[in-house]
Chain length 200, copies 2
């Protein structure tokens, strides 16, 4: 148990909180600019309004990367939940506007103990051994069904996240392209950052 843990919140949490406060202040004084990220209305969570700008402009100032998915990985590690289907809103019981002191109570998830021992979970990394073949043989049909459902569930969540990320990319591109069309220049070039690979 490190001394740091008992006193101060994990750097990830402080930084995320700082970043929201900074944006709030910037909005208060500067106004005008479009919102990139902010506390939600109730102050019990936050919304990343523009993942592209958030990743490019804010992440590198607080973290050692500019990957939205790495940021999300951290949120999950600390137990945040995505709480809206159509926007990037995240909540955690202890993550509230005005309650910086609660951050110190938030805990990183460890690999949590599963009801099913790991050798029963299907995985490419655990080729069947003599041991778990015979154990699996004793599993009831409903247990097998249950595990299959769990696997499919996991897969679906994964796929959803991937699709959502793709959509975020599209939205960004879309805006850039519309920008180009609404401010025409004599010679047109393609905007530089179009991930053409999404087009087929």
């Amino acid at each position: 148990m490190s001394c740091r843990k008992s006193k101060c919140p994990a750097p990830f949490l402080s930084k995320t909180y700082d970043l929201l406060e900074e944006e709030r202040e910037a909005e208060r004084v500067g106004g005008g600019k479009k919102k990139i990220v902010s506390w939600n209305l109730e102050g019990n969570g936050f919304v990343v309004w523009c993942p592209a700008d958030f990743s490019d402009l804010m992440l590198p100032r607080y973290f050692k990367h500019n990957n939205f998915s790495s940021f999300i990985r951290q949120l999950n590690t600390y137990g945040f939940k995505k709480t809206a289907s159509k926007r990037w809103e995240f909540q955690h019981e202890k993550f509230r506007r005005g309650c910086r002191h609660l951050l110190a109570e938030m805990r990183r998830k460890k690999c949590q103990p599963s009801a099913f021992p790991s050798y029963l979970k299907p995985s490419a990394h655990h080729p069947p051994t003599q041991d778990n073949k015979s154990i699996a043989a004793t599993a009831t049909a409903s247990e097998v069904l249950f595990m299959e459902l769990m696997e499919e569930n996991k897969k679906l969540r994964r796929e959803r996240l991937e699709l959502e990320l793709q959509i975020a990319h599209f939205k960004t591109m879309e805006m850039k392209l519309l920008e180009c069309l609404s401010h025409p220049t004599p010679t047109h070039h393609y905007p530089p950052s179009i991930p053409i690979n999404y087009l087929n």
Copy 2:
């Protein structure tokens, strides 16, 4: 066992090797400047001649930090030995000038796996949960769980379909917009079929 591990060396090793080769090349063509880091005479190790410049100028170009001690921590992790008392010289059996292929054989030191699963080890981070208090749930409880899983599964499939449809729309729009950009007309109108609602 990840696919990466069998084929290519750890990023840390490639980057350290690259950095030495880059310096060697720079010295060959440019000459003049004082040496910051280089292979040793025998080519079976390397020397950081100027840790300050090395940290400020080279580390950030290859890694996500500029701390000499983090670099050394990595060297130790991969089994390098400090081989001189008065200068920062490091050697590893498989790290030799001209032998990039040997890097793939170098292995990170592991913290050796414990015989006990992590959830059996005493830890402040694992307060007993409903799950692990009664692994053998009652028939009704597991039935409820099962139904919940099925429901969530159905919801996820629905969501996935929706997201995929959105993406299909985006792809179509994308092509239309690119079309517009590549055949400019004197007066620009927005193409008619852009679902603006996707943009916020």
